[in-house]
Symmetry: C2
Subunit: 614 residues, 2 copies
């Protein structure tokens, strides 16, 4: 891993190469990663899904002052349904500044990059949903099909479909037409703001690979531009499929611009946070006009999906009064406060169709927020939560009528036995719109370990049908995650999402597990590390006790030591059985050979190692 | 946390007090922990299960050269069915020494402590199973009932039984008679070697709280006596219900003695490891006589349960030949090698009734090992695994016929959709004998994070009915766990076991979640930390950004900062709703008061904090 002078992490992961698979036109070039395994092992390179963009391609020189390549720009323009316009004038309050105050951070030079905002021509609906409904397969859809499919078509014959998918409809091969059909019926979304042409197309839906989101956001102690971009790059390096920028405070407009211009993944936001900043944090001073202006501001920058808490209705708020932890969604609590202060219905609900029209013009997706999600085991699956979900279902159908793409946010804190009902109700009420959940945490008693309490719920809810899992870091409930927390959170959610794909019987998902297990069994240590989700940590853990290069060839590790390595003994057992001789013969030969099965490797360390597992 | 000069960690956890609840006789004094909450908060102390023994009781002075109090000694002797005898003579090879070689570590002075081994008088069966079948409620059973019950009886009225227990039979209140009945029918075990009177009675069974085991073991780099004892103390401090000593190599007899004499929890071992050491690591040289002698050696020391791989039958071995990862159990691979070398049936199987007679004399429990468990997703639920399970079922009934207590070990690596079948088959084949599983890991691709991949499987399999979960540390597959890995592994499994208890609807399990969630909602930060499984980590994470003492009273944390704290806003919402006024009135009052809901706390740090979760 090398770092540019701007501290952006670049370079490939260990043992990996960036490859590009071309589609039906030369500018559809789908980025993937291939992990090369030991020559002579008879193992083909393993192809894996890759969210990391140009940063892991050594042939690309990323200059964050210019942004990453705008790979979708031509596709957007050639459809002829959008037009450039001057855009909304930037206001000091967009960055939390007083009138006349000078901004304290560098500003991305849009003019130098020839950037002007795009929006729909009058009467047009430039959304992937509108195209899909019209029977059009966009280059974005083709890109997604190739990306999801990977080598699935080639592997097809070898794959035994084995899993329980709870009524999902996962195809043996992902075709562009399948992608189109799933988007058309609202069962998948392809986040693709016309002003974020830098994003590599990806898809969220329960018949596709389970995705994960990482939250980032600025803070008072870390506000340099390269640090903000680095957070996004770092999260995608470890596997974040989308990134939500949850910044608050000063310079959020400027920061967001830097992030979007350099992001290879879709960016989501919660616009009410910035709107609240514009009214000095007084929820009751929020207005539809201020909120609308904020939506336009962010849509012009290129935000791909907005969390909108339009389901927090006045009548649901009293249902939270007896809860153990009330309202734990920030957006939800802001809207609840507004509703109570004015004794009026939530303006996000009353203006919902206005919001639809606005989002449609840019193809910003809805992420309908679960403002009343449970914040404790005690509050799971209660009347407030399911009441709101019903309203989100109503709003889903409204948004679809406007050709807007929709995903639905979900809990939260839910004990294991109540998780499945969440998915079932969501599918039923929201017409199979993709579900996007935060965890859920399956117990409240482990602060400091909530990436784990939530990964248990996340793996299960992903299996049941959730399309995207929002990560939780070890710092959840306690403080600001640092870089290592982000990595821990992303890898934890990556493994949970993968576990879900395995359990759903996703074709091809097990290819990587099998390759890693073979490497493990054959003592190809470097292959085992390189095939893992976090090769650097795996290597570091191994080297803590056996740092010598020779140990990476040894037929044991420090966990069990050379005498007790079951893998080693087991390989011999296999050799005998494979010889297809009678068992008696095999036994005879074995004793006759006096097979000294315990290598006396030159590796010295840990000859009497401690076993960690029986 | 203080450390004695011998580096044993002692002292209570933050905010906690040791209490003792007396039973029907004064020497039944059940240790528990109570967590005191903020005075004036209206919160009663929360009582929690406590595995940590005298080390967390400041009134006890532990001298490891003397061992911890032998609280069961009187109970064992007064039953009149055991007798002291001279015991097996110690041999140099017990510690891996050549004849005449002097041992290089201190030896526990049994004579000075008046210790001589106990065993059954001729014709007697001094096992908890035999007593239970005879209708006898032992002091151990009463201890367990009080320990499991905690305040359940008092809480009873307030508890709503809510959960899915898959046919378990969890009572509202645990009575001594219930404990007896569960042991009598083999559905629970109470590990209690007559030579380990130091252990505090505990129970393993699916109608009781889900337990966890931590593995420890000596190593070449860490072989001082106090370090070995400290590993055990450290694991129980964080919540290990039993500890398996998987030491190999030199000094294992001496080390085991130190551990058992100082252990407040039952100790398990895999005797074949030591037997293998005695034949210089040559599996084919193992004999029944050497193995039997090792069982006696360890039974006299006080090991509470033995892993015995008696289900690895000759006919199952070829079934592993085409596996991706062959045989991954060390005991399993050793026995497979022996079987092949001699082309004979596994001597643990052919001598099974001899083993039963031996174990019965000391009340050592069987932990029937799953030598053929899957070591990869690809091998899960295959013919070798389930073939062996069938044999373990047969052996369970044999052991029961000899009044021996039995638990059954289980996998391993299993994708989520195949976990439930493991429990169902185990219950069916093994007559509801307690299941004891290692994870299972739900994917193979995350070395470095396998405490998490396995915690997902562990929480689920615990929910389905597994009675005890064997922990996995982050170092699994890679190397020797260090102290922090042990803590991470134990806490991770503690949270998984608790999640299982919640989902099963265990009465009282949610009391701690609710108390912690109320503390969280009311910004009682210290209560939140102290109620968590790892109070020290929770505090450290919080203090990373807000170290000032005042921040522990603040109505926000560094995660969302003061403007965006949903808990804070939500409390106001609650106040209004609770006033039981009309909504319009409430709204009016709210605006009139001009309620400045965002505290302007004196805490300076992180005024513009980064949000970690929407």
């Amino acid at each position: 891993m090398s770092e540019t002078t701007l501290k952006i992490t670049t370079g490939p992961l260990p043992g990996s190469r960036k490859i590009y698979v071309e589609g039906s036109r030369p500018d559809v070039r789908v980025a993937m990663r291939e992990i090369d395994l030991t020559p002579g092992s008879g193992e083909a390179p393993v192809r894996v899904y890759d969210c990391s963009g140009p940063y892991t391609d050594p042939s690309m020189q990323v200059d964050i002052t210019k942004g990453v390549p705008r790979l979708r720009e031509q596709w957007i323009l050639e459809r002829g349904d959008v037009e450039h316009y001057d855009g909304r004038a930037h206001k000091p309050e967009d960055d939390g500044l007083k009138p006349g105050e000078v901004i304290g951070v560098p500003v991305f030079d849009r003019a130098a990059q020839g950037l002007r905002p795009l929006r729909a021509k009058p009467g047009k609906a430039p959304t992937q949903l509108a195209y899909a409904r019209a029977g059009i397969i966009t280059p974005e859809m083709e890109y997604v099909a190739i990306r999801e499919n990977m080598k699935r078509a080639e592997l097809h014959a070898a794959i035994v479909r084995d899993g329980e998918d709870f009524g999902a409809d996962i195809p043996d091969e992902v075709t562009p037409e399948f992608v189109r059909a799933e988007i058309a019926r609202g069962r998948a979304v392809l986040p693709a703001n016309v002003n974020h042409p830098e994003a590599e197309p990806m898809i969220i839906g329960r018949n596709f690979l389970t995705k994960i989101n990482a939250n980032i956001g600025n803070s008072a102690v870390a506000s340099s531009v390269d640090e903000e971009v680095e957070k996004m790059v770092w999260a995608t390096r470890w596997g974040a499929d989308t990134v939500m920028d949850l910044s608050t405070g000063r310079h959020i407009h400027a920061t967001r611009e830097w992030i979007i211009r350099n992001s290879p993944v879709p960016i989501g936001t919660v616009p009410i946070y910035q709107a609240l900043e514009k009214v000095d944090g007084k929820a009751e001073d929020l207005t539809w006009e201020i909120f609308r202006d904020t939506l336009i501001e962010q849509a012009e920058q290129g935000v791909d999906y907005f969390t909108i808490h339009a389901g927090v209705l006045l009548r649901y708020i009293p249902l939270t009064a007896k809860r153990t932890t009330g309202i734990v969604s920030r957006g939800g609590s802001i809207m609840a406060k507004w509703c109570l202060a004015h004794h009026k219905e939530n303006f996000l609900y009353t203006h919902f169709e206005d919001i639809c029209e606005l989002l449609k013009a840019y193809d910003v997706g809805f992420s309908l927020g679960d403002g009343l999600r449970p914040g404790s085991i005690a509050d799971a699956n209660d009347a407030a939560q399911f009441g709101e979900l019903e309203t989100l279902g109503e709003l889903t159908h409204k948004a679809w009528a406007h050709d807007c793409q929709v995903i639905i946010e979900g809990p939260g804190h839910v004990p294991m036995h109540k998780i499945k009902k969440n998915v079932e109700k969501q599918i039923e009420l929201c017409g199979e719109a993709p579900f996007y959940t935060l965890g859920p945490l399956v117990t409240d008693i482990a602060p400091g370990y909530d990436h784990i309490t939530s990964a248990i719920g996340a793996a299960m809810i992903g299996w049941f049908g959730t399309a995207m899992l929002c990560y939780v870091t070890p710092k959840e409930h306690l403080g600001l995650p640092d870089k290592q927390d982000v990595r821990e959170g992303v890898v934890t959610y990556k493994l949970a999402a993968h576990a879900a794909d395995l359990a759903k019987g996703h074709p091809g998902a097990q290819v990587r597990d099998n390759a890693l297990s073979r490497a493990r069994f054959e003592f190809r240590w470097k292959d085992q590390f390189n095939l893992s989700l976090d090769p650097e940590k795996a290597l570091a853990f191994h080297d803590q006790h056996l740092p010598a290069e020779g140990a990476k060839l040894a037929h044991f590790c420090s966990m069990c030591g050379p005498k007790f390595c079951s893998m080693k003994i087991s390989q011999e057992v296999r050799d005998f059985a494979a010889a297809e001789q009678g068992m008696a013969e095999m036994s005879e030969k074995f004793v006759h050979d006096g097979a000294e099965i315990y290598h006396t490797e030159p590796v010295q360390a840990q000859q009497q190692a401690k076993p960690a597992a029986e």
